[in-house]
């Protein structure tokens, strides 16, 4: 919406189409970048604190020397980010310089441009394309290229291992994710994100909100398949094999330090938000309120979308600190012998269920 409104508004001002387009894109891109930055700080702080509470620890409390990290360690992520920016920028001599420099930005771009189609509330969406969800799934696989470039260019055996594993993992987990989204689109009939959400208003089976997750058991299973393969796409435990700390030192990021490492860190959290965003939009009714009818204004819509997304991110963090790590071949078995067949069965199930119950 906002891009179209901006374009019309500029059109009234004067006749400068190219400049208008650039201005519109800029005006939309900067707040998204700020949102990602602030959200990433909050998510990193959340991860530190939640993981510490789960482990009987206190987490960053800012008890160091001087001002340190604020009251409850609130400034810890800020300090981390600032320190990472100020660190020496090492490019290994034997590394493939251009690819090495480019890799983190491609991984970040993969995550950044997917924000264009995320519906934050009724009208707060950058570009409500009619192929919204298809666009996000296509774009978020750009990150794989960045990871492979990172792994290959740093000319280090560990990062090569990490890159190969992450390539195999992300590419293969896109199949079940896409199949479970097909199950959703069969019900909503439209690919546009706002359209999917509008379809999910009203009641189903009496008291339940008409979210797709409650519409029939097959979409219920499709939600879990989508969410878990989304976790695998962000390389989070139990699928965090590419940056498996105990095996591959630091996986594809072994040779990165300072600012570039911060970008990888940032894009991991951005990816997590995208996966949660899609899961919320496709299955949990986006900005629809749990009790249809009341609290439906755009302001509340933003609140519902963000709280659902944040809850899913909390679940991802929760996964990370409880589950051990799968081995690479077990991971592939789970994907190809487990999720993909079930996702296909879901598609047929949704169709038959839809036909029978109408």
């Amino acid at each position: 919406m906002t891009v179209d409104n901006l374009m019309n508004w500029f059109a009234e001002l004067g006749d400068f189409p190219e400049l208008a387009f650039i201005l519109a894109v800029l005006i939309c891109a900067v707040p998204v970048f700020l949102f990602i930055a602030i959200y990433a700080l909050v998510a990193i702080y959340g991860e530190l604190k939640i993981s510490s509470f789960m482990q009987d620890k206190v987490g960053p409390m800012g008890q160091g020397v001087g001002l340190h990290a604020g009251k409850w360690g609130l400034l810890q992520p800020v300090a981390d980010a600032l320190k990472l920016i100020l660190k020496e920028d090492i490019i290994p001599a034997s590394a493939d310089k251009k690819l090495f420099i480019l890799a983190p930005f491609i991984v970040f771009i993969g995550a950044f441009i997917a924000f264009a189609a995320l519906p934050f509330n009724q009208n707060l969406i950058i570009a409500d394309m009619n192929i919204g969800i298809f666009y996000i799934l296509a774009v978020s696989s750009l990150g794989v290229i960045g990871l492979i470039m990172a792994g290959w260019s740093s000319n280090n055996k560990w990062s090569l291992y990490g890159a190969m594993r992450s390539a195999a993992q992300i590419v293969s987990y896109e199949i079940p994710a896409a199949l479970s989204i097909i199950a959703v689109i069969m019900l909503t009939g439209t690919l546009s994100m706002q359209g999917i959400i509008q379809h999910q208003s009203g009641f189903v089976w009496g008291i339940l909100p008409n979210w797709i997750i409650f519409q029939n058991p097959f979409t219920f299973a499709a939600f879990f398949i989508f969410f878990v393969s989304g976790v695998a796409e962000c390389n989070r435990t139990p699928f965090d094999i590419p940056e498996a700390e105990s095996e591959l030192v630091a996986g594809a990021f072994t040779e990165y330090s300072g600012m570039r490492y911060a970008f990888f860190f940032l894009s991991e959290y951005a990816n997590m938000f995208i996966v949660s965003g899609i899961a919320v939009t496709a299955f949990l009714g986006g900005w629809q309120s749990p009790i249809p009818g009341i609290l439906n204004s755009p302001g509340w819509g933003l609140w519902w979308f963000m709280s659902k997304a944040m809850f899913l991110i909390f679940v991802m963090i929760w996964f990370r600190w409880t589950f051990p790590r799968l081995r690479v071949d077990q991971l592939m078995n789970v994907c190809w012998k487990g999720f993909t067949p079930i996702a296909m069965v879901n598609i047929f199930g949704v169709g038959i269920w839809h036909l029978m119950l109408g």
């Binding site: 206190v58 020397v65 340190h68 320190k83 330090s257």
Partner: protein, 163 residues
């Protein structure tokens, strides 16, 4: 940071920038897991739940590139001394070294008959803070880390060195 290091005249703007940089670096010193011997077990106990290192912002990193502080915890032998030097050189600036335990500081109980023991890690690597003890208690290690944080904050990376 290399280009801007020590290039500016000392005035209020540069001083406050120094304080900000010092604050950032001292608040989140990520330490490099470099456990060699008994002190490594005490370092793990310090990073565990009771004496939590994350309280003072220290997160364990396993790759030298992403770590700021290298805690040499345990006896450095001749065979290992060369590796310590190589790993130190791989760390990104600004990097600091804490020599934890009397073995790393001066060879500890092995100083007299240890033909294979390096008498002190400062032979191969510049050390910032020495933590005495064999093994030092977790509180002693945390006190050493706080000393290091004070030292980082006192650094003035931007102002020109008074020649």
């Amino acid at each position: 940071m290399g280009v801007l290091e020590h290039k500016f005249q000392d005035n209020v703007v540069v001083a406050s920038m120094d304080k900000l940089i010092g604050w950032a670096r001292s608040t989140s010193p990520w330490f490099f897991q470099f456990g060699l011997a008994c002190c490594a077990i005490e370092m793990m106990a310090t990073a565990a739940s009771r004496h939590d290192l994350m309280r003072i912002g220290m997160i364990p990193r396993s790759s030298p590139r992403q770590a700021d502080v290298m805690i040499v915890a345990g006896t450095v032998t001749m065979k290992m001394g060369l590796r310590v030097k190589k790993l130190y050189e791989q760390m990104a600036d600004p990097k600091y070294v804490i020599s934890m335990g009397s073995c790393a500081t001066s060879g500890g109980p092995y100083w007299q008959h240890g033909y294979h023991v390096l008498k002190g890690v400062d032979i191969v690597v510049p050390v910032d803070v020495y933590v005495p003890g064999c093994p030092p208690r977790p509180e002693a290690l945390i006190e050493g880390l706080l000393k290091l944080q004070e030292k980082i904050q006192a650094e003035r990376p931007l102002t020109r060195k008074s020649v």
